[in-house]
């Protein structure tokens, strides 16, 4: 029973990690961009939601109506105006530029909001739980987050395999030059891609902000967790990313069951072990 409980709680925890990872996985899968500022965008979304909820009195869930478009536009503009320029010159430019963005966001938030912790308040749903037979209690909120992750990945799969836009994304991902010859405007498509990635970043930021406190320096660990989920699952595979998040969540829950201070460390160690045993992850699709 204890084993089953750890498995369930860990998988649910993995839902939020998968949600962190979707944006990273998308921008890597489509434009081979490793976005070092990804974690900071998650935290930035939390702050945008904080400002919206405080200034309009909306609750965090409803604030997504504003946070999501704001982050979409930010992603579109950033890719169009800045990141597209980095994609032709090898490894360093995208890495360095997103590193720069990361530092700008972290210190900008620090100057604007101070180093204090913040949290988004959603009310009773945060602590509600369901009682399963066998004495297992599961939180309604983690279940909701997990459902959002599954729903998000399913809708992305639908986008990729059922729409014109999705076909263009797959074409650009397979061979950017040939796609361009076929009349696709890669630069615009990349901008839309980062915009879509930012939609998921925004959702992840708000959902996580309800669950855990955040401060301006909270981005990097989010990036690392997202990265681990992507690598464990295998590059370019969205369902793999969900599994990767769950593996990470289960490893952390096992670690926490042994000793609460081991939670994060256990996740990192599981990641490194998988890296050594299966360097391409569990379900690899994209070759870089």
């Amino acid at each position: 029973m204890e084993f089953l409980n750890i498995f369930i709680q860990g998988s649910l925890l993995g839902g939020i990690y998968a949600l962190f990872a979707i944006g990273l996985s998308l921008s890597f899968g489509i434009m081979r961009l490793v976005n070092i500022a990804h974690g900071d965008f998650i935290v930035l979304s939390g702050y945008v939601a904080l400002v919206v909820t405080q200034s309009t009195g909306l609750d965090p869930f409803t604030s997504l109506v504003i946070v999501v478009p704001v982050m979409f536009v930010l992603g579109y503009v950033l890719q169009r105006g800045l990141l597209n320029q980095t994609l032709s010159g090898g490894l360093l430019p995208p890495l360095l530029v997103t590193f720069g963005i990361s530092i700008i966001i972290q210190n900008g938030l620090l100057q604007g909001f101070g180093a204090y912790d913040h949290r988004l308040q959603e009310g009773p749903i945060e602590t509600a739980s369901l009682h399963l037979p066998g004495g297992i209690d599961i939180g309604v909120y983690p279940l909701l987050v997990f459902a959002v992750a599954v729903f998000g990945i399913a809708s992305l799969q639908l986008l990729f395999y059922g729409t014109r836009l999705g076909r263009a994304f797959r074409a650009v991902s397979d061979d950017a030059n040939t796609a361009e010859l076929m009349g696709i405007d890669n630069r615009k498509l990349y901008a839309v891609a980062l915009g879509i990635a930012m939609i998921f970043t925004a959702i992840a930021g708000v959902l996580f902000g309800i669950r855990t406190i955040f401060d301006p320096a909270a981005g990097p660990i989010r990036l690392i967790l997202a990265f681990e989920a992507v690598i464990i699952g295998g590059l370019g595979s969205l369902w793999g990313t969900l599994i990767g998040g769950m593996v990470l969540g289960i490893a952390q829950t096992v670690g926490a069951a042994l000793d609460p201070t081991w939670q994060i460390l256990a996740g990192h160690l599981a990641f490194l072990a998988i890296l050594i045993l299966r360097p391409n992850g569990l379900f690899p699709r994209t070759r870089d």
Binding site: N107, G108, T261, L269, F271, L275
Partner: protein
């Protein structure tokens, strides 16, 4: 009969590099004598510049030459620092002996680490090294004998081993930092001038091409990674000898020991020895000028790094070198055409 009125000569040193060598020697003499005419604040600032320069040179060697873009070098700063505190505090080792062991210890740790992170390519290698550093930070925060989450302090008896007098101690630590920085710059310079430097430059320019010409790229990268880790560990020991305290957050700080270092190298000019000097100076000047405005200097530094990366990827030094044909640390060779005197 011979029509050639010109012959060519292969040169390493240039006029500029010879002038620079003299100027650098004079400046170094000035810095070495600083304890006798400067105050403690000057010494602290120069020591900081010296260790940042060394860290920047090492990161440049890794990323600019060996193509190993690591963002996890803070792991070795922290390991070096903790090694110093542990060896002196728990093993009661002499502080100089502990400092000398800190570097090799960090290098030793880098060997198993490389087995894991070398499986990753490109940007994934970068984040992988970062994860490893986080692992070390978490482990340090769990080990009681390392002070767990709150870290360790250097005790007075340990410091008195260097010198019972505070001024003499500061001078000793200052001179050690200068010496280590000089050592690191010297090693990087001599390495790049050697046969291995040629291999490294070839790897920098094209890894597949250098491999096809017989460069053992894996071994070269492995040696550079481990050697860099050892030097970084030694610097880490020195940094925390000055700070007197270490904690997991301070020791393994990515912002302090890697991010600003990367910015220095990129702004100054990646893939050159001169670049890190310029980048370090720009960083220190910016920070001192904007000292009263919180962390805005970091925001400015980030913006400058982005602009340089997009508009002038070879950095400030790359621009100067191209425009004025300068090379202060000649690591390559150049052809010089000169009229043939003997035939006249």
């Amino acid at each position: 009969m011979t029509a050639a009125v010109e012959t060519v000569r292969v040169e390493r040193a240039t006029k500029a590099s010879r002038v620079f060598t003299v100027a650098a020697a004079v400046m170094l003499a000035g810095l070495v004598s600083l304890p006798w005419w400067g105050d403690a604040g000057d010494m602290r600032l120069i020591a900081e510049m010296a260790y940042y320069l060394a860290l920047a040179q090492l990161w440049n060697l890794l990323a600019g030459y060996a193509g190993l873009v690591s963002v996890g070098q803070q792991a070795y700063v922290g390991i070096g620092g903790y090694a110093l505190f542990y060896l002196t505090g728990v093993w009661n080792l002499n502080v100089y002996a502990a400092l000398l062991l800190a570097g090799p210890f960090a290098g030793l740790i880098a060997i198993p680490v490389s087995f894991a992170v070398f499986r990753l390519r490109g940007a994934y290698f970068a984040i992988g090294t970062w994860v490893v550093s986080e692992v070390f930070a978490l482990i340090a925060s769990l080990i009681l004998v390392l002070g767990a989450g709150s870290g360790l302090s250097l005790t007075v008896p340990i410091l008195q081993e260097i010198s019972p007098d505070r001024d003499a101690r500061n001078t000793a630590i200052y001179l050690m930092t200068l010496a280590v920085s000089l050592f690191v710059v010297g090693v990087v310079y001599l390495l790049l001038r050697s046969r291995h430097g040629l291999a490294l430059t070839a790897i920098r320019d094209s890894e597949p091409a250098s491999a096809s010409l017989g460069v053992n790229t894996f071994r070269t990268k492995f040696i550079i990674y481990v050697a860099t880790a050892a030097c970084t560990g030694l610097i880490g020991g020195l940094i925390f000898l000055q700070k007197l305290r270490i904690s997991p957050e301070a020791g393994f700080s990515i912002n302090d020991w890697t991010v600003v270092v990367i910015f220095m190298v990129v702004i100054g000019g990646i893939g050159t020895i001169e670049g890190p000097f310029i980048g370090m100076l720009i960083f220190i000047v910016l920070r001192e000028l904007l000292a009263d405005y919180g962390t805005y200097y970091l925001i400015l530094l980030g913006i400058i790094a982005i602009v340089i990366m997009l508009k002038a990827p070879s950095g400030v030094w790359g621009w100067i070198a191209q425009r004025y044909d300068l090379q202060l640390f000649p690591v390559g060779r150049r052809l010089v055409l000169k009229p043939d005197q003997s035939k006249r």
